[in-house]
C-alpha cells in the first residue's frame, strides 16, 4: 500500500450542498422563509467562483490496535482515539489518515456579512461551508472505498478527533502522522484547524472491515446542538 499522500481537488460547484441538503441541515422547512431564497442565490453565486475543496489521505499499515487501551500503533507513531473508536476500527489492517478543507472563503464571507450585521446570512454561509467540506470528504471516502474494493478490502466509516470521545488533543498526533501534505490545512496550538472549514480523522481498512453506524447515532455528547435536533426529528417521526 502506497504511503504517499493522495491528494484530491474538487471544483467548489461539485461539492456545494444542494438547497434541500442545506435546508435539512438547518431544519428550514418553510420555502417562504427569506433564508431559503438567500441560499438559492448564494449557492448560485458561489458556483461561479473559482474555488476548490482540497483533501486527501495517507495510508499506513496498522501495527497494533488495543481496543481496551484505546490506542492504535503504527510504525511511524501512535494515536489514542479511546476504546469506542478503536472498537469500530477493530478489523483494520490499514488506516487512511485524512484531512479535507473547503478553504477560507466561507469563513471570510460569513465574517463579512456578520460585520454588516447581516447575521442570518452570516450563519447560512457558515453552514454552507460545513456542508461543503463534508460533501468533499464524502467524495474522497467514496473514491477510497472504490480503490480498496479493487484490492479486496473494505473501509470503515470515518472518525474524527473531538467526536466519539476521541480527545481533540490527539489531533496533534494525527497531523504528525500525516506529515507534510499539499493542502492548506494547518493545525494550531489549540488543535483548531485552519481553514476552519476543515475535517480530519481516520478510516479503517481491512478485508473483514464492517461499516458501523456513524455520527450522532454513536456519539455520547449529551449537550451537542445536533443531538437536540436529532431528538426532535425522532420525536416528530414517532
Amino acid at each position: 500500500m502506497d504511503a504517499a499522500f493522495r491528494k484530491y481537488e474538487f471544483p467548489i460547484a461539485e461539492v456545494l450542498p444542494t438547497v434541500d441538503q442545506l435546508s435539512d441541515f438547518l431544519h428550514l422547512d418553510d420555502e417562504q422563509h427569506p433564508a431559503w431564497q438567500f441560499i438559492i442565490d448564494k449557492l448560485e453565486e458561489i458556483r461561479g467562483l473559482d474555488l476548490k475543496a482540497v483533501g486527501g489521505y495517507r495510508i499506513y499499515p496498522v501495527g497494533q490496535l488495543d481496543v481496551k487501551a484505546g490506542t492504535l500503533a503504527f510504525a511511524e507513531g501512535m494515536l489514542a482515539p479511546r476504546p469506542q473508536v478503536c472498537g469500530y476500527l477493530r478489523e483494520s489492517e490499514f488506516a487512511a489518515l485524512f484531512l479535507c478543507t473547503a478553504g477560507f472563503y466561507f469563513t471570510e464571507e460569513s465574517h463579512a456579512y456578520n460585520d454588516r450585521d447581516e447575521i442570518l446570512e452570516s450563519y447560512l454561509i457558515d453552514a454552507m461551508g460545513s456542508s461543503t467540506v463534508e460533501n468533499a470528504m464524502n467524495r474522497i471516502q467514496e473514491m477510497l472505498s472504490r480503490d480498496m474494493e479493487q484490492q479486496g478490502l473494505h473501509i470503515s466509516n470515518r472518525y474524527s478527533p473531538g467526536y466519539c470521545n476521541w480527545p481533540l488533543a490527539d489531533q496533534k498526533n494525527l497531523f504528525a502522522l500525516i506529515g507534510d501534505q499539499p493542502t492548506p490545512v494547518r493545525l494550531g496550538e489549540s488543535c483548531l484547524m485552519t481553514p476552519i472549514k476543515s475535517v480530519s480523522g481516520i478510516i479503517g481498512i481491512g478485508s473483514q472491515m464492517k461499516k458501523r453506524e456513524y455520527g450522532c447515532a454513536i456519539c455520547e455528547n449529551k449537550t451537542c446542538t445536533y443531538r437536540r435536533i436529532l431528538s426532535r426529528s425522532r420525536t416528530q417521526a414517532g
Partner: protein, 225 residues
C-alpha cells in the same frame, strides 16, 4: 397590551422586519417592526414601554421557543433582524438615559478558539433582552477580559469555547478577572462545556442555549438586588 404593541410583539416573534418584507406570509402586506416602532413612538408610547412591553418579551418568547426546539437558528435570527429594525428607533434613547438597560454583559470566545456563531447568537439574544453587550470577539485572552471588566466593574461576563482543548482557558480567564474583581460573575457555554465543568472552574452559571444566558443574567440581577 395596546394593539400597536401587540402587533410589534408579533412582528418580532415571527420576523416581520418592515412593510416590504414578504415574510411571514400571515403578515404580508402589513407593517413590520420598523413601522410599528415608529408609530408607537409617534402615538406617545415611551421607548421604555416599547422595550419592556413588546420587544423584550417577544425576544424572550423567541428564546424560549428555540430552547424547546420549536424553532431553529434561521427563525431566531430573523426575529433578531426584526428586533434590530425596531432598535434603530429605540437606541438613541439608550444614550440619553431615557431607557435604563439591565446592565452590561461582556462576551467573548476564549483564546485559541475562533468559533463565533454561538457567541454571536448569545450576544444577540442578550442584547434583545435589554442588556448592553460588549462583544470582545474571538480568540480573547485573559488580559482583554480583565481590561474590559476594569472599564465596566459591574458587568457580568460570558465565555464561549467550542473545543475541548480551549475549555481550560475559561478557568484561566475567570481566575485572572477574579484576581482584580473577585465579585465578577461568569456564565460559560459551548458544545463541549457541561454544568459540571462550569462548576469545577468556578463559573456561576452554565448555559447550553442563549435563553439560558438571559435567564442566568436575570437571576444574577435579582440576587444583586
Amino acid at each position: 397590551m395596546s394593539e400597536i404593541l401587540e402587533k410589534l410583539f408579533e412582528c418580532v416573534e415571527f420576523g416581520k422586519i418592515n412593510a416590504a418584507s414578504p415574510y411571514p406570509p400571515q403578515l404580508r402586506g402589513q407593517d413590520g417592526a420598523s413601522e410599528y416602532t415608529q408609530k408607537a413612538l409617534a402615538e406617545g408610547f415611551s421607548p421604555a414601554e416599547i422595550m419592556d412591553t413588546a420587544l423584550i418579551p417577544a425576544m424572550t418568547k423567541v428564546g424560549q421557543k428555540f430552547s424547546e426546539n420549536k424553532i431553529f437558528v434561521p427563525q431566531m435570527l430573523l426575529s433578531a433582524k426584526a428586533m434590530n429594525a425596531a432598535l434603530v428607533y429605540i437606541k438613541p434613547y439608550f444614550s440619553s438615559g431615557e431607557i435604563r438597560r439591565k446592565g452590561t454583559f461582556i462576551m467573548g470566545t476564549v483564546n485559541g478558539d475562533l468559533h463565533d456563531i454561538g457567541k454571536n447568537l448569545v450576544c444577540m439574544m442578550v442584547e434583545g433582552a435589554g442588556w448592553d453587550v460588549i462583544d470582545l470577539g474571538v480568540d480573547v485572552g485573559p488580559e482583554k477580559f480583565v481590561e474590559s471588566v476594569r472599564q465596566h466593574p459591574d458587568a457580568y461576563v460570558g465565555l464561549s469555547a467550542l473545543l475541548t482543548t480551549t475549555m481550560p482557558n475559561m478557568k484561566t480567564i475567570i481566575d485572572a478577572v477574579r484576581a482584580v474583581s473577585p465579585s465578577t460573575r461568569f456564565i460559560v457555554g459551548g458544545a463541549p462545556v457541561s454544568a459540571d465543568f462550569a462548576a469545577s472552574i468556578g463559573a456561576d452559571a452554565y448555559a447550553d442555549n442563549p435563553q439560558q444566558d438571559v435567564e442566568a443574567l436575570d437571576r444574577f440581577l435579582q440576587e444583586r438586588a
